[in-house]
Amino acid sequence: MAEIIRIKKGLDIPLSGKPSSEVKADNKTTLFAICPDDFPGPVWKAVVKPGDSVAAGDPLLKDKAYGKILLVSPVSGTVTEVKRGERRHIDYISIIKQQDDSNAENRPKASSPEQIRQAMLESGLWAMMRQRPYDIVPDPEVAPRDIFVTSFDSAPLAPEMLDAENTKWLEKGLRALAKLTTGKVFLGVKAGSSISSQAATVYEFEGPHPAGNVGTQIAAIKPVNKGETVWTLDAVTAAKIGKLCEEGKLDFSVSVALTGPLVKNPHIVSTFAGAALSGLLDGQLKSDSDIRIISGNVLTGIKTSKDGFLHYPYRQITVIQEGNHADEFMGWASVSPMKYSVKRSFPAFLRGLSKPFDFDARIKGGHRAMILSGEYDKVFPFDIYPEYLLKAIIAGDIDRMEKLGIYEVAPEDFALPEFVDTSKIELQKIVREGLDNLRKELS
């Protein structure tokens, strides 16, 4: 029996638009893109140019430092655009799909640690892992103390992470991962789940979001100390690693949940990584104006548009009202039962705080200094004082950041504190900048 860990601090935000389990296949989408910003850490260099034809699994980008970590094309077709932003920064590389063979097969099977590493680096699956500290794509030169895999997503409206196909391959993936560390592979599963593993140590997690975040699981199982590195990934990536190593098949298919209050029939679509959103969302939205399309969930997702693409982790799209024309009169005095607050300072709690609410993207207030105390702690299940850590980051005090536990956290761990924050401070941005500065200073 796996040990059960109860997460008490956290919050399940009752956003409306939960997806049904109905799965529809997406046959329309032909445009796909890989956005290097989804894979923070390395500086990415394009290895293709527009007009090149690529097969699924062929490299599009490689990292500048080692030239070993690749980002690969999810489909076979022609590179249409290498979109660059300021200072020649690559925003995305798009590919138009021409053949129907998005399962790159016949790659070498891998069984020794070195082969597995190589297979992961070359298949783009390496870039789908993260390391702590810094929450970046793992440095291939550093061996991890342990590897943490989460098998469920507890974020608002997140779908089930594993489908039947991936569940089948998970154990193989865990076995491969176990060869890459002298420590252990830990698998976090939802309480009551039937997933078990021989290769990994399984812990069951019970409680509200962020119970499914791998950061929460690390903090509960074995926190990261200074000088240590751990790898984190989700079970889908682990399953794909399993399939790759065992059968030499690289699988780019993904199940994406269309969710949120503005989606007509929230359901699941099966497509390929990096799909253009225009086809996925065609005819699915309740409204076309004043909307915010998020690739991902409402806490950590990336704001995009109908012309945008599916971003890593290729799991969910959420559509909510933008709300920037709401012009709410004296909102601070509102007695509307539809305004959600964990504070009970709005009468919504009389309606029931677990009933679904239609959130919009407004920050619903002004930016202030930190005023209320203890707000963050209530939704932050770490043995860390988030307020003090944030202050150390803002002050740029590296010594204090280290002491207060910066090596243990990732920006996503601060998503819920940011949601409940009365002072509307951009906490995830602060943490991201803090981690980047720390890495720059210490490298």
Binding site: G227, N324, A326, A348, D360, G365, H367, L372, F419, D421
Partner: protein
């Protein structure tokens, strides 16, 4: 509302940089965001936010203060009627006497305090912050009803500038602004701030025979030996009178009942920390029991029972509304227990054993404001050591 919004939007450019009223930008912005919740949507990080903001938070505190405030006005009228022998005790008559008596103070506090906030916000290019909405009503409530408005104005200006703005404004001050105002009045104008006449508004009329306008704690502090606590007319105060607040004092803080109503609102909305309040009451009760066990005529306040200690004076008000000010209190949960406990204990110690100060709650909170960062420092350091130990054990 759309019409109003359009109208305001049409004059908005004049208040922006380069506009005719550029210097009033912060003021305009303050009123604008007061009328219309900003339409700003999230630019980074989370895409949705909790509806609670700092305006709502401050308004909830003001609402929590209302029972005390309204009762206080009525009680000013009642004490006045008792003091001059007026037999008309109708609710509205008493209330409106008190209302007119304290209105100038409330206006003074708000005009001076918000005026300074507006100017500073403009100079710094900030939005106007709402902190003073609460301080502005708290300040008159913890002052005697007869405090001259000019003194109040000086004290408010001192507190807002030197206790808050020099540190960066709301969220950065380390001392509670309302209490600094009160302390300034107490120490700068000691003779006008104590004694028989400041706590009861007599108006133009003469007092009845046997009148005593001193607060219960004031009476005890100046008495020799065990004394009875008397009301304004010279009749003894019952415990019920103390609980309901039917005695002279700083006008907003006498009624423990109304404070409990305010407390319920603060706790229900999760704005005040129950940790501070619980440990504060425990600290005060323990100290009162101790003091009461060793009661001595040298320190007459020690004869008060623990329950009387909680009901009289400004203690209940201070622990509910002052000690829980999140900016000046401890910010860690463990720290809050220590902070609250020490406020409770020190308030009673000052009250009992320093006859120079009839009330200790204000000084206890200010003192602990100073120590709050130190307590937090120790709590956070314990966390740091725990983290360090983890690495050492491993090696």
């Amino acid at each position: 509302m759309k019409g109003l919004k359009k109208k305001i939007d049409s004059v908005k450019p004049q208040f922006e940089k380069g506009g005719k009223f550029e210097k009033l930008h912060s003021v305009f912005d303050g009123f604008y965001t007061f009328l219309f919740t900003p339409n700003e949507t999230s630019g980074s990080g989370v895409h949705i936010h909790d509806s609670n903001d700092s305006k709502r938070t401050m308004i909830m505190v003001v609402i929590a203060l209302l029972p005390c405030c309204l009762f206080g006005m009525w009680n000013v009228g009642l004490q006045h009627a008792l003091a001059i022998g007026d037999t008309d005790h109708s609710l509205l008559h008493l209330f409106f006497y008190g209302f007119w008596a304290v209105l100038p103070q409330i206006l003074t506090a708000y005009i001076v305090g918000l005026g300074i906030e507006f100017v500073v916000a403009q100079i710094r290019g900030h939005e106007i912050q709402e902190g003073f909405l609460v301080s502005g009503i708290l300040i008159p409530m913890i002052c005697p009803v007869e405090t001259p408005c000019w003194m109040l104005a000086v004290a408010v200006a001192f507190a807002v500038i030197f206790a808050k703005e020099v540190f960066g404004g709301t969220g950065y001050n380390f001392l509670n602004v309302a209490l600094v105002t009160r302390a300034f009045l107490f120490f700068a104008y000691p003779s006008q701030m104590s004694g028989d006449h400041v706590f009861v508004s007599l108006g133009e009329s003469a007092a009845v025979d046997g009148f005593s306008g001193a607060t219960p704690l004031g009476q005890l502090a100046s008495s020799a030996g065990q004394a009875e606590v008397l009301g304004v007319t010279g009749s003894p105060l019952s415990l019920a009178d103390m609980f309901l607040g039917l005695y002279p004092g700083s006008w907003g803080e006498t009624s423990t009942l109304c404070i409990l109503i305010g407390l319920a609102i603060l706790l229900a909305t999760g704005i005040a920390s129950w940790r501070i309040i619980v440990s504060g009451v425990v600290g005060a009760l323990l100290m009162s029991v101790l003091a009461n066990n060793f009661a001595t005529p040298l320190y007459p306040v020690t004869y008060l029972s623990p329950v009387e200690q909680l009901c009289l004076g400004g203690f209940a008000f201070a622990i509910v509304f002052m000690a829980t000010d999140p900016v000046t209190a401890c910010r860690t949960n463990i720290g809050k227990y220590i902070y609250g406990f020490l406020i409770g204990a020190i308030a009673i110690i000052i009250r009992c054993y320093n006859t120079g100060y009839p009330e200790g709650a204000m000084l206890a909170v200010l003192l602990m404001n100073c120590f709050a960062p130190l307590i937090d420092y120790c709590v956070v350091n314990a966390n740091i050591n725990r983290r360090l130990k983890r690495t050492i054990v491993k090696n």
